[in-house]
């Protein structure tokens, strides 16, 4: 589907990535994956994505740092944070760094898809009026 929404999953747990990819693809999303922050940034440089779903806790470059770098690289790209632990201060930190939402695992797929859709909607509004650099 040419118009499929493309989601980049960034998570170091292969089981989670596998399962989530399957489920999202079944719902018509295009899915890419990266096992960590560095890989994610590379992936974003070379491929187009509409939204990033990012795990907060990863070895190496952690979620918050990855979030910061993604925002710098592409301020209009929405990032949804996923975490396996309920940590209020981390959640607030994530929002301060510009995440559009913070969800906890296990995250019901319906909710996640709804978040993705509304994040895209907002991005479209902004993009129409403030074209990204280079266009």
């Amino acid at each position: 589907m040419a118009d499929a929404i493309r989601v980049l999953l960034v998570d170091d747990e292969p089981v989670f990535v596998d399962t989530m990819s399957k489920v999202l693809k079944a719902r018509g999303y295009g899915v890419g994956a990266a096992a960590g922050g560095v890989e994610a940034l590379e992936e974003l440089r070379f491929n187009r994505y509409d939204v990033v779903v990012l795990d907060l806790r990863m070895p190496g470059m952690d979620g918050i740092e990855t979030l910061e770098r993604i925002r710098k690289q592409d301020p209009l790209l929405p990032v949804i944070l996923l975490s396996g632990h309920a940590d209020m201060s981390k959640a607030v930190e994530a929002m301060q760094h510009g995440a559009v939402d913070y969800m906890l695992k296990p995250a019901p797929v319906d909710k996640l898809c709804e978040r993705i859709r509304s994040a895209i909607e907002h991005r479209n509004i902004l993009e129409e009026l403030a074209p990204p650099p280079g266009r």
Binding site: E13, M20, S89, A91, P108, V109, S118, H122, L129
Partner: protein
Amino acid sequence: MATWLSTLLTGSARRKGAAYAGLIKRYDAYLQLLRANNEFLELLTEIEAMGSSAGPCGWDRLRSDLTRLNVQVFAMAKMLGRLSAGRYDGLFPVIEDLGRAIQARLDRGHGQELEGPPLVVLGEGGPYGEELLGGKAANLSVLLSGTGPLVPAACVVSTAAFRDFLRYNGIEDTVKMLWDTLDPEEPAHLWETSMTLREAALAGALPPSVLSPLRAEVERLVAELPEGTQFSVRSSASGEDSAFSFAGQYDTILHVPAGEVAAAVVKVFAGFFNPSAVMLRLKRGFGALELGMGALVMPMVEGRVSGVAYSTDPSSQDRETVRFEAVQGLGLKLVDGTVTPSSYTVDRRALDSAGEPGRAEGAGSETPPLLSSSQILRVAALAVAAEKALGTAADVEWTLDEAGSLWLIQARPMALRPAPTQAHAAVQGWEVLLEGGTPASAGAAAGPVAHVRGPLDVPDPPVRFVAVVAEATPDLALLLPRACALVAERGGVASHLAAVSREFGVPAVFGVEGALGLLPPGEVVTVDATAGRVYRGRVGPLLDAERPQTQLSRTAGPVREALLDLLPLVVPLNLLDPSSPSFAPSGCRSLHDVVRFIHEKALAEMLSLPESIGGGTLSGGLQIMEHLPFDLRVLPLGSGVKMPAEGHRISLDQVTSSPARALMAGLSNPAVRRDGPRPMDTSGFLSVMSGAMAGDPELGQPGWALVSDRYLHMSLRMGYHFTTVEALVGKRPGDNRIRLVFKGGAADESRRQRRARFVAGVLEGLGFQVRLRGDFVSATYGRGTEDQMSRGLEQLGRLLACAAQLDMVMGDESQVRWYVEGFLKGDYARILDAERPAAP
């Protein structure tokens, strides 16, 4: 895009771009704020449900809901910052403080990792709770003290042992990791994952720290009991055997020879991962290993007659009757349904007297009878004793052995039928005044109707009344201690007022069209919020059925306690009155307060949107070709208009903005047009200026409509009046809103005031909430469906068109009423031909 943008704005290209981009950013922030608001209210509903339900709930769910709640509040504050250029940054420390306080209460409640012995002999050591022993074993140990030696000697392999078992066999980490991938909506994956874990557990072995004490105890029992005694091994899970339990989800293994007890324990442990049990735990918000599994080991009693007894008859809920069933042999056949049991009922009062045995019904056709009269009484007495020991109605599995000893095998709190949550049929014999809407808070109540316009509009004398309102606004929460029920024409279930109604236990039903018309003030009515019905009079049967729910669950103890502890920081709405000085960040005592505050301020910011980006940079815009009573320019915010291929003129058809279409339909309605088409101006556009003072430079200003598909913000001067209309009309009634501000201009004071009274009078008649101060009117209409909102806007359009014609009139007070009535009846001629006012 860039080219037509430049035709719309004046000033340097850079200024234009910045101004427009600023507009878009604010609109975007507003929509995000609304979304976070809705999410917050839904989460609030969930948390309240957790607090008031009798079912179990998990730490995981509680922690995650609270974290998400905090996230939404923070997001809203951030968006408000964008709308208001940081004016309300004082909110952030308040939010942080609340977050810290909530976290502190959560931490206080949440226990450390479970400590306890791997094997507990019931009746020795302790006292141990349900968390270590599991539900079945915990109930039995309570009964051991209550009913004495009627419970067989038992020991339990504890939930601590279960945890050690998982670690020893390397399963613990796998469980945690896989749990995060589970989704109750993806049953196939859930099934696969559960089975994988089950297989892994079945292949495991009990660690030595568990195996040794277990073997020792079994050997001890074997020595004491008759030769050849076998054992039963039953699941005893935490969270099980409360009234809303995982009944039937776990395993029971009977006839286990002494040498195979350890293997049976492993099987019971593996049953923790039965797919339906996993699903239930997941749905209830428990973490991967938040609950645990114990195994209850008991010597088998070879029963001659066995059965299940209920200390209260479950079908009639009659507290005076014990009911039980019996079969020959073991109770298993009964619960399997393979044998039809005999039924007995015993009057409880008969148990106290030493005299006549109670009646035994349906004793069955067996000869000789299964049970003697004295045995019947003993079984019943056992059930009652269990009830006393557990502190609540109980169902009991019992068995009578060959020697005539009565044994209690299992007991658990009985699930009494909860209050009906499904819609039920109308009660016969009472007139139904209206039907419809959605229950916002369940229950039923009766009282006299009062049409309530605002939170202070309470009737005198102070009886508990049924509040009937046009719109479920949050400030009505002030009413709730006084109101026994709430009926609203407009409003949603996930709203502030719904949440507070539930907290107060006030039955409420929203979205009931026409309620104000159908429920006359003073009439005594019964509101059945659950079914969405209102009856005339007091419906006894409905009101009597309102029994408070019995809290039967004990297993969610620490979680519920923590929840109740922090509810005051989350749920209650203390900030009710936006005009009060305490309506400020410092007055926020709960997250709900913060959200309410932010929502209110965000609306205020949106109302002043055009000014906020720096007046004077907007000009040009798109002109509407249809007849409108004034010069109106349209500025699309990313959507709302089908752009013309070239030029600046569009027809009404090209307006895609839902609220704008509706308003303009009203404005251009021929019925409210005065006489004939207006003269065209020299440039060829239909540009209409009303009033005789065409030379006034003020009147030369066009009105502005900022639109998107769902949004409209219009400000205009019509003659001497200044009007602002803001509307959001989309699929979600909770977001929908029309706001109007109307201020008279020029003319003398008394005329301006009468004009304002006309506008206010009409708006009230249309169902708006109106505030009138001198010549200033502000009104809102909210939370309706798309249709309701569009109709409201269309009427508003007609009103504005009429008001434009009103400059010459309003000679005296009596005329105001006359014109209001005329408008509401659709008799616009009254107003339009007003140079010749008819006598009222």
